[in-house]
Amino acid sequence: MTEPTESTNKVAPRKDSTSIVKKTLAKRYAAEKRFRFYGAAAIAMSLAFLVLLLGSILVKGLPAFVETHMLIDVTLDSKTLGVEEGATQQQLKAANYHSLIKKSMRGMFPEVKKRKAKKELYKLVSTSAEYKVRDQLMANPSQLGETISVWVLADDELSSFYKTGALADRSKLTHTRLSEQQIAWASTLEEQGKLRKKFNTTFFKNGDSREPEQAGIRAALMGSILTLLITFLLSFPIAVATAIYLEEFAPQNRWTDLIEVNINNLAAVPSIVFGLLGLAVFINFFELPRSAPVVGGIVLSLMTLPTIIIASRAALKAVPPSIREAGRGLGASQLQVVTHHVLPLAMPGILTGTIIGLAQALGETAPLLMIGMVAFIVDIPTSVTDAATVLPVQVFLWADSPERAFLEKTSAAILVLLVFLIVMNAAAVFLRKHFERRW
């Protein structure tokens, strides 16, 4: 390579090599410095976007965790309710609470006489007030005829207005559908101490509702949990078994190559295709119930399977072959080698893959739309065959609603989705730590 010097056949260091290396050194360090800067810049940028995203969701979503209650005095008179003393629970349930609430609202502002004004007044209270009073009366039927004070939900428009502190400072909320008259009433209520903010438990107790103040995430959350449970129970064992078979048992031939290519391709199939498949096969052919977590879970596990299989195979491959040799050398059967030695070492990697797959499944909407999990679900699903929806679909539905209060609920639902994801990840980290062992 180099010019022959006086002693060509002797192995001697080049005299000038130090200076040559020195010259290139500065360049090499500069390149490294540049690369580090690019890396740091990239991370800073992605962090900035993440903060921006989370920040905006938090700002928009946090108000949804506060709800406004209104104190009303209700006279449970049997005439308005249309029930007699000693009425059965059935009769109490069917009584006319609607008029009762209206009457109580009129009672608070006796000066309101006009029909239109009355209507506006009624709008300040949520329709759920009727149920609240009904439940209270049904629990204590002896209260019939008495006047009771109850905190009931305020209507969402009033709630949005009040929560932002716009009563004191109108500049805080420029857009409101409340009329001047309604705002004046609200101020009066506030002065009388009849309005208060509370942590929004309704949001976590209820299913979806047309009335924003009564709409909750519970149904979608349960739907997501049930769907993911099915997904996990189906995809995890099948995927791990597949990966183990392909990696540890199957002969290397054209068939296994073909299967491998197909699994990799499957991972790239758009998710909506799985939805179509689910609709055609599970609902139309096997006649499983529509909108049910069981079908959603099956469809999503089809989608997660390739992800988990690929990750599991990589994890199995990473286990050093010397461990397998040690096991076989002692006379362990192939299955014993795998279950006793290889699988425990591969478990952390397999769990990581599973979490990635499940996280994808959790955020998936398109295939679930195809199988009808986009329904308006009020009742909390309790089994995998009940009609249900899932968190991302709920986000999608609420984002489409015109009411201002649904806007904040959309963000709040996203927050719940994120928390769900974090909990899932934390569980995975915990399990991984549990399984992680050095070798």
């Binding site: 002969p251 040690a326 002692l330 006379g331 059967s333 006793h340 062992r437 050095r438 070798w439």
Partner: protein
């Protein structure tokens, strides 16, 4: 062929090699191989090797790198089964039972013919569980006390017990390299094999640990048949009673260790042990 560049005489000697020099058989062999050829796909790695392994004796297998020592050793307990391209022809037997025939199950074979590998490879388990693993899967102990006995006596035989007796719950990987290798030997002994195969068991160890293991091999000889592959001729001379010299897949010479090292009969053997190539 690296031999050609060394001495043309040696190369001729190799080309003319028809038969192994020395006596390959022993009386009452524990294991025996007859006319064994091993192929990796198209490539032949072992050519027509016949060799007996005797009871209560250590046989050392030496030879230049890539000459097929490991391949031959791994055939003796069918570890090569897991290499899809590997094909073995000829006859191999343990106590007269054909290894590759239908009669002997590979799992049972490996319980009877244990193996210690070049690199220590303890399981990701505690020291105790490493040793107890073999007896457990084979059901050699009927209760915990028996298992404890097996573990402790195996560790004692491997000369590791004193060092680890107060931390049997520590992971096997937390030991030093030499201790790990002795743990692997203890693990192998715990299954009570009849033959122990060792593939360069000391190549990753310092002289003290090596001496420790050599001592151990010498003690184990009383009860086992042992075959050891080594690159160290001193080691072969120290631990073995018979030595087999392999060269490019052929078994060149077999004889008592004494004779091989003091009076090699084949030119290739002489070249190797005098350090002219290898």
């Amino acid at each position: 062929m690296n031999t050609k560049s060394n001495t043309s005489a040696a190369s001729d000697a190799f080309d003319n090699l028809k038969e192994t020099v020395g006596v390959v058989t022993v009386d009452d062999p524990k294991m025996s191989a007859r006319n064994v050829d091993v192929f990796y796909g198209e490539k032949q790695a072992i050519y027509d090797v016949s060799l007996d392994i005797a009871n209560n004796e250590v046989i050392a297998m030496i030879g230049p790198s890539g000459c097929g020592k490991s391949t031959f050793l791994r055939c003796l307990n069918r570890m090569n089964d897991s290499i899809p391209t590997c094909r073995v022809t000829g006859e191999m037997s343990l106590d007269g039972e054909d290894l590759y025939g239908a009669g002997l199950d590979p799992v049972l074979l490996r319980a009877r013919v244990g193996m210690v590998f070049q690199k220590p490879n303890p399981f990701a388990k505690s020291i105790y569980d490493n040793v107890a693993y073999g007896p457990r899967i084979h059901g050699l102990a009927s209760n915990r006390a028996e298992l404890d006995d097996i573990v402790i006596s195996s560790l004692q035989k491997a000369g590791l017990h004193e060092e680890v007796q107060d931390r049997l719950d520590a992971p096997g990987t937390s030991l030093s390299g030499g201790q790990q290798q002795r743990l692997c030997i203890a693990r192998t002994i715990a299954v009570s094999p009849e033959v122990i195969l060792m593939d360069e068991p000391c190549s990753a160890l310092d002289p003290i640990a090596t001496a420790r293991i050599e001592e151990l091999i010498d003690e184990l000889r009383e009860n086992y048949a042992i075959a050891i592959v080594t690159h160290s001729m001193q080691q072969a001379a120290r631990v073995s009673q018979r030595t087999a010299y392999f060269h490019l897949g052929k078994l060149v010479e077999v004889g008592s260790t004494n004779n091989i090292f003091t009076n090699p009969r084949h030119e290739l053997t002489e070249n190797y042990i005098t350090g002219r190539f290898g």
